[in-house]
Subunit: 253 residues, 2 copies
């Protein structure tokens, strides 16, 4: 077996296996949120907030529990479909967009390679690299069309290849999360026929849910959990105050 | 003035100014949607759909126009705040996240430069580049800490530096768009006291708005406008059908 090719890095000799060892043993602590977690957060966030605010607003307008439930659950159904189906179609569109950009880039590599090669240089020059430093990269890519294409998609266009299964999974996750989130503030109205009383319970459980959920969200997204909890609860409070005020105003006209 | 340094690219001699001329004269036709347009689309999309569905659902439950308006406008207020304020805080969080990752990366460049340098190699090796081809890039970056940092942020972490003004602008755009979108299906209920009649008008104007808006959305996002128009209208139709059905079910129990 041939000895490993080593290269000079700032006067120190290193080899690929040494580099790899450095990478494996050093675990950088960068946070990456799972896509499912993100979708759950998205769905539950909205589900906890808007149905809660709507129910609180209608309670303020002295509507009976049955009507509040009607409006609330109708909104949850509509919201879940809007978010879920809307998200699904948006993801599909993104996938189509990616394929079109890929095809275009592929054509340009074949028809105007000098321009594409110049673009590689332009991208790398932004990092202070001189032509004699990046030209080996340009040449290597020119001789490897697949890698060249990947490089342009990522570094010129900033596009990642979307996973086709993700669109459906994402839509279902968001829609289901929205329903679960929406049921939290609405269930009190199922069990407590007097709307004003149900509203107090709804406020209590929803506030608790918003604080808890905001805290969890903060942990998953790498932001300060306490701050996230307070912010999430605050949005819910403000949204319901606005809904309450709006309902009072309409009722008085 | 010294003559421009030229370099060999696959046997052809080229210079930076030639490359630049190639780039300027060749206009690649890649689509990029403005952030404001994206926010308007986001806000109006939801604003047209959920308030419309809620109003249609409550009409199906034989609620009077006044109550439908109460519920609808309360929902618009709550939804606008949820989307707007939620979006603002999310953008702020992203900005904080970026700053924390930037700081961490900066530290790592100072404390463990060999590992960071190995990472540059790992990133470039994914594009089929050999060590002797990418080592000039690694060395150049090692000698230019600012460029090195930018390179890692973009190519390792895929993070773009967020614009601080964008968070507020984005939130206001989304919230305002949601309100405008929501008013379209609700205004008929202001002028037509009999809910069932108002609903027919609401369906008519909202369907037209969904088709038109979906078409415009398709043009801006680079997707087929007709397909986008039909999809947008379909989501609205499905959401309102679900809300209508849900309202009927609740009313009958």
């Amino acid at each position: 077996m041939a000895p490993e090719e080593s290269w000079e890095v700032n006067g120190t000799s290193t080899t690929p296996s040494t580099a790899e060892k450095l990478l494996v043993h050093h675990k950088e602590n960068h946070f990456t949120a799972g896509e499912v977690v993100r979708d759950v957060i998205l769905g539950v966030s909205d589900g906890l907030t808007v149905p809660f605010a709507l129910a609180a607003g209608l309670s303020g307008a002295n509507a009976p529990s049955s009507l509040i439930l009607t409006a609330g659950l109708a909104e949850v159904a509509a919201g879940a479909i809007s978010m879920g189906l809307g998200g699904y179609l948006a993801a599909k569109s993104e996938a189509d967009h990616y394929m079109r950009e890929l095809k275009r880039e592929q054509e340009e590599i074949v028809t105007v390679p000098d321009i594409e090669a110049a673009e590689i240089g332009e991208i790398l020059a932004q990092y202070g690299l001189e032509p004699h430093e990046y030209s080996p990269v340009v040449n290597a890519l020119r001789n490897n069309p697949q890698a060249w294409l990947d490089f342009m998609m990522k570094f010129e266009l900033g596009l990642e290849k979307p996973d086709p299964k993700r669109a459906l999974q994402s839509a279902l996750t968001i829609a289901l999360s929205y329903v679960v989130g929406g049921l939290v503030p609405l269930l009190p109205y199922v069990f407590i026929p007097i709307a004003q009383k149900a509203m107090l319970t709804s406020i209590g459980v929803t506030l608790a849910a918003l604080l808890f959920f905001g805290y969890v969200k903060g942990q998953f997204t790498g932001n300060y959990p306490l701050s996230s909890a307070v912010q999430t609860a605050f949005i819910g409070a403000l949204a319901s105050a606005a809904a309450y005020a709006m309902a009072k105003v309409i009722q008085s006209t």
